[in-house]
Symmetry: C2
Subunit: 316 residues, 2 copies
Amino acid sequence: MRLGIDIGGTKTAAVAIGADGELTDQVRMPTGFGAEEVVATALRTVERMSELSGVGAASFTSIGIGIPGAVDSATGRVEHAVNLGLDGLDLGRRLYDRLGVDVRVENDVKAAALGAHHLLGRSDPVDLPGGRRADSMAYLNLGTGLAAGVVFDGRLLRGGHGVAGEIGHIPIDPVGVLCGCGQRGCLETVASGLAIARTWPSNSEHPARELFDAAEAGDARAIAVREDFLTGVAAAVRLLVLTVDVDAVVIGGGLAALGGPLLAGTRRILNRWAVESAFLASIDLATRVQVIPPGFPAAAVGAALVGEDPWLKSSS
Amino acid sequence: MRLGIDIGGTKTAAVAIGADGELTDQVRMPTGFGAEEVVATALRTVERMSELSGVGAASFTSIGIGIPGAVDSATGRVEHAVNLGLDGLDLGRRLYDRLGVDVRVENDVKAAALGAHHLLGRSDPVDLPGGRRADSMAYLNLGTGLAAGVVFDGRLLRGGHGVAGEIGHIPIDPVGVLCGCGQRGCLETVASGLAIARTWPSNSEHPARELFDAAEAGDARAIAVREDFLTGVAAAVRLLVLTVDVDAVVIGGGLAALGGPLLAGTRRILNRWAVESAFLASIDLATRVQVIPPGFPAAAVGAALVGEDPWLKSSS
């Protein structure tokens, strides 16, 4: 049994995956803040999963962790996980010292990409054309920011320098708004939670849903703001397909909770582009895009699989 | 001995590579126009290389061909090779029928990516920092158009639908000029031979060199036109690194003949961006970019290796 743990900014989720690839137990608990509390949260999660499974921690085939920030998956060290209040934590070694089993650590978006690939490969729950299995896939994470994880033939593309999939900081408009990264017009300034917070200020707990609801109700400004957002999402899909030519782009992250309206809106933009460009029409972007089913613990599932995929990385 | 043939719009180049990876014989001849002439050119090239090597065509370990257009590398079929006057040619099968040996066919930019990777891996002739070997690499082809080929761990990224690396048709300016593909502001409208033909009309045989020379001589309009072009090249480099995080981006294609001034100009832009963005500074784009040495037959060398690299593709 493989154990996967997704340490998020507020919640930590864990799943166990059997040899048949099926999810068995799942737990969820609040994430502590700061390095010591993050380690404690991870240990509590392992303990709770051990109880549920009726086995000791050492009996798990593998333990994998997905966590935000810059992760060195070779050493298990985490840097720049601002929302967790930690910068520089040897998470893998700390947990090994306590548990006596190898713990693999991966960036949460990359882990979620593996998890989404597993989901698509096993159950094909969404309308991938021809019922075929998606073997190459990009996971487009729309959370506070925007980033992607790419999977080829079940292998995660890690890259050599920790920036694979950092497409949120590719500018698409030279006169766009200033991004936190110092550039102007980055994809993240258009298609992310941060972008919605700027363009649709709101006290709602779910500003994006409020925006989409207002647009659906006919509010002209909401329609315009939503359109800019969806255009950015569609641009991210196009960028991923024209660079790595994946079979599917699966949208995940907090904004994926928008569900059907997000998928329909993104497809509408892509279909409009296809009318203007025979080239785009020929590559059929709209049918490649999907939204991950709500509640699917992609990052935890992917974390459980992190030890399984052969690494696709550079040697540097 | 492996034989690699690069069938270009005007010239066809062939190389033989020994078991030690060294280039031995090379030939070059004009390319015929149309399907029958392209097949005849390939056969003449094989015959000439057989003579030079003193072995029969059947004695080559493998024969690989790089050719423009949409290539189905599984079947050896070529579509949309407009400059060669052919649209729909079973090149692999036609040559197999005549030669009795398997002939692999690959898109010329993808083949050139493999060839450039071979070059960098073997001789490291350009200033890759720390003298390390580039194991992941993008080949940025600046020819009439703009496209890229990506190599991870010696494996060519083919993608599932023939558009991997077609980054020339990613828009970077919503109010940019109209592209032949029907979109607006594509990278190709800024950083390609077509872009220079539009922005620097000239009767020179080498308009790009004329442009660079005029800029060097202080012509204000040439400086502005060159800056736009270099900004587009730098944007392509940034896009490739932020998506696939390659160690190196090697510029090839006809415009690579610009050599040092192209490299220096692209690095100047990337370094300017690094001053404005700590994020970009941290990923050190300027040291990752290189220009392929003049005269290196990247596509022919890569074609010779096409049978060697395990395919990195989707199953669809």
